[in-house]
């Protein structure tokens, strides 16, 4: 029987056993990408494929945010011509993608990570430096 833990319950009831930090991957330069290497601490909790899929999707989303394409150039030029006042009424492309990412992280937490006693923290809350995975104490309530 699968029990779903709500995030609130987990935070209030469970004790934090450990935290794992997925570092940034700089092999492609300064674009925001995270390492897809599977940390050993999570081996007992979650499937490797699942986790790597999450990180890969996040990487793709960040790549989309930072893409240098015609859209970003047009946005940049338009903003410059208006002395950047256009951003008072318009959201930047990056901010739109960040909202998508926040939703994605929330969704992943609700569906996949919370039932396994894990919690993903949105990288923006850690300065886009790490993906923080909180491992809660296993109360043998899952599955």
């Amino acid at each position: 029987m699968a029990e779903t833990h709500s995030l609130q319950d987990m935070r209030q009831q469970a004790a934090v056993a450990a935290k794992v930090f997925i570092q940034r991957d700089y092999t492609n330069g300064t674009v925001c990408q995270f390492q897809t290497k599977f940390p050993s601490d999570l081996e007992t909790r979650i499937d490797k494929q699942q986790f790597e899929e999450t990180v890969r999707t996040l990487n793709n989303l960040y790549a989309e945010a930072e893409k240098l394409g015609s859209q970003s150039y047009i946005e940049g030029c338009l903003a410059c011509l208006t002395a950047y006042t256009v951003f008072l009424c318009m959201e930047t492309h990056y901010e739109k993608v960040l909202k998508k990412i926040a939703k994605f992280v929330q969704e992943q937490n609700d569906k996949i990570y919370a039932p396994r006693g894990l919690l993903l923290t949105d990288p923006i809350e850690r300065g886009l430096r790490v993906i923080e995975v909180t491992i809660f104490e296993d109360r043998s309530l899952t599955r």
Partner: protein, 404 residues
């Protein structure tokens, strides 16, 4: 002895470490020393006011009204760019929270292996390959992170800044990833404005001398000049000196942009070409480099200055309690972690960024921990044991009882 917990909500900028000043409830972020910035503002506004007041009436009438109009537009653009550069977050990297710092320390220890007693541990460097170049990532002892490539720690603002260019006292802020394009547009538009004003000052003198005779123009005081040409002399003088410095600076930054380099890298000679070292960030195409720097995506601030956080101040009868200072930590269940904070390795003295002891930086990095959603309230009657924790980390000193 029990303590009474008083929880209040504060904005995150109030608790940010580093030596920045914030205005407008966290919307504006600048360095501490703002004197030179006020001077810049005064010089620009002052010179332009003199130009508008004393030159423009003549020029509008005798040449074209478009001249002052264009000058106003340019002036407003310059001010907008200046304020945008000065008031925005340059790309500050938030400091590592204690767990992250510990995690990194343990990774470093694991990588270094056993260092024999008496020997210095090796410097904390991570090597990363970017576009077939080995780039060294240095560890920042203040921020407790390995700095991303191109980031550097500004000792004036006491922050690590992403794609750090330089700290500019004229704008009263660091110039980094987020505000470099505004800084460049500021110098460019200021050059144009200075050249514009200088040119029309000369044009004005020439036109008047054609009307009156050259030497007479310089000596006489025509009716429209109550102060014997001093506004024009001031304007010309300021423009002349500004011209060389600002135009030179604009030229220098244009060169840097075309190569996708920062001032910091240029000064250090990171990609100067010896040992076949090349800039791994350059697209090897001037247009592409310019487009990336000037028209690339606008990066958001990762600081969340205006977010709310809990601040606990415990009022305790014990005089020795360090928490009597109002800036205690926010509540967090993290202090229950079974992975206790490992004794941190004493600071290595690094040549560039030596920072004071961990204790001082731990105190400074009284960072918000967001384990709980921001609006969750603490149980008002939670008992807090006396603050006897020996750890220097101020946040670890309050332990919440979560068992139920």
């Amino acid at each position: 002895m029990s303590a009474v917990m008083i929880t209040k909500k504060v904005r995150k900028w109030e608790k940010l470490p580093g030596k920045n000043t914030f205005c407008c409830d966290g919307r504006v972020m600048m360095a501490r020393q703002k004197g030179v910035f006020y001077l810049t503002l005064f010089l620009i506004v002052g010179t332009c006011s003199l130009f508008f007041a004393f030159e423009c009436p003549y020029l509008a009438v005798h040449l074209s009204p478009a001249i002052p109009v264009f000058a106003v537009v340019l002036f407003l653009f310059v001010i907008a760019m200046l304020l945008r550069t000065s008031f925005s977050d340059p790309g500050v990297l938030p400091r590592a929270l204690p767990e992250e710092a510990t995690f990194i320390e343990m990774e470093i220890e694991a990588a270094n292996g056993n260092v024999p007693a008496g020997q210095r541990p090796p410097p904390r460097i991570r090597n990363v390959q970017i576009n077939n170049q080995i780039v060294k990532l240095k560890y920042c002892y203040t921020c407790k992170i390995f700095r991303p490539p191109r980031a550097s720690h500004c000792s004036i603002c006491d922050n690590c800044v992403d794609r750090f260019d330089h700290h500019c006292p004229w704008v009263g802020n660091c110039v980094g990833k987020r505000n470099y394009r505004y800084f460049y547009l500021f110098t460019l538009s200021l050059s144009l404005l200075t050249i514009y004003i200088f040119t029309f000052d000369i044009v004005h003198v020439v036109m008047r001398s054609v009307d009156n005779g050259f030497l007479k123009t310089l000596k006489e005081t025509p009716g429209t000049y109550p102060f014997n040409h001093s506004p024009k002399k001031t304007t010309v003088l300021v423009c002349f000196f500004t011209l060389w410095s600002v135009v030179g600076l604009t030229g220098f930054h244009t060169y840097l942009i075309s190569l996708n380099q920062t001032t910091n890298e240029d000064i250090k000679g990171s990609w100067s070409g010896k040992n076949r070292v090349q800039n791994p960030y350059s697209h090897k195409n001037i247009i592409k480099n310019c487009c990336e720097v000037l028209c690339g995506p606008t990066y958001p601030s990762v600081l969340d200055r205006r977010g709310m956080m809990q601040e606990d101040s415990s009022v305790s009868a014990t005089p020795a309690a360090p928490s009597s200072s109002p800036s205690s930590s926010s509540s967090n269940p993290v202090t229950q972690t079974t992975k206790t904070t490992a004794p941190l390795i004493p600071n290595e003295h690094t040549p560039e960024d030596a920072k004071p002891s961990i204790a001082a930086s731990a105190e400074k990095s009284c960072s918000p921990k967001e384990e709980l959603p921001p609006d969750s309230e603490l149980p008002p009657d939670s008992k807090v044991p006396p603050l006897a924790s020996p750890e220097t980390d101020a946040e670890a000193s309050i332990i919440k009882d979560k068992t139920h």
